[in-house]
């Protein structure tokens, strides 16, 4: 969870910064979770997409739509695509796909999608179809 902190430890001890303190393993975990979500969206599988969402995101979706997650989430409204750049910081990750920006959070049962279908708004936070 605190992989990024290892870079801090390196910096404190020997000014090594990022050298030898890569974030590869945790980036793979975040990328895999984003891929699972994007794949579920791509095949129109709302149940699988809901499985990949963070509980807080599901709760917010259910509260705003007044229906179960599977019924509230419309995969056709969400872009999908191959995962590109992944950035992991602390227990948060931002994943860019061909056509989307996803925001993830690392929970006890692994990486979950906190927000998807996100579009930049200049200096303001992204506006997201889910979790925004």
């Amino acid at each position: 969870m605190f992989r990024a902190t290892l870079a801090t430890a390196c910096g404190l001890v020997m000014l090594s910064g990022a050298a030898g303190c890569g974030t590869g393993q945790r980036e793979s975990g975040a990328a895999a979770a984003a891929e699972a979500f994007a794949a579920a969206v791509g095949r129109g599988d709302a149940a699988a997409a809901c499985e990949a969402l963070a509980p807080e995101t599901v709760a917010a979706l259910v509260a705003s739509e007044g229906d179960a997650c599977e019924a509230s989430l419309n995969p056709e409204e969400l872009p999908s695509g191959a995962v590109g750049e992944v950035q992991v910081w602390g227990d948060r990750a931002q994943v860019r796909t061909d056509s989307d920006v996803l925001f993830l959070v690392e929970l006890e049962d692994g990486w979950k999608v906190a927000a998807a279908g996100c579009r930049p708004q200049g200096e303001r936070p992204y506006k997201c179809e889910v979790g925004g």
Partner: protein
Amino acid sequence: MKRFLRDNGLSVGFGAMFLAALVGQAFAGQADFNDRQLSQGGAEVTLLQYLASSDFAVNVAENWQSEYLQFFLYVFATVWLVQRGSPESKPMDQIGTESDEQQEVGRYADEDSPKWAQAGGWRTAVFSRSLGIAMAAIFLLSWFAQSVAGLSVYNAEQIAELQDPVSWPAYLGVAEFWNRTLQNWQSELLAVGSLAVFSVYWRQRGSPDSKPVGTSHDTTEKSG
């Protein structure tokens, strides 16, 4: 043992208080961090996980860097800056690095002087500045650590708030980095400056940071 503790009372006493405060900071920091995690939909962490986190590291490093900057500046500035009447200052007529004779270096060193004070050349030049160099080095290391740990914390918050993370060079221009830095600097500089002035007029009986109680306000560089 008793004699050791008496002879090293300052280092042992302050070392123990430092560790106690650091342990307290760890517990308070973990509770505060977990409160923020709950409000942002993140997972709570154990104490050990918190001790390895960037959040703990940045909070420790930002205070360390300012303390060591304070003492570096104080050690360095008191070579050139004086304060009439302050026991923290040297006399008005000794401004500067002083003569080799006054500093007991090179041919003026005696047999009890440290080896590098006797050696002359670059070794004496380095040793003559070793206290300031050590303080400056720890300051720079701590400030760098603050910037690396602070970047991690800042970017995690950026992502949690659905914003883009930034690079390390970009973080050095972010208001949050300078807010963390300057709020510590101003307090340290105020404390040191006010000590130099307060000690002209006020006394602490028995303290080497104070003049003897009956010494006049005009007397400079006399402690007791």
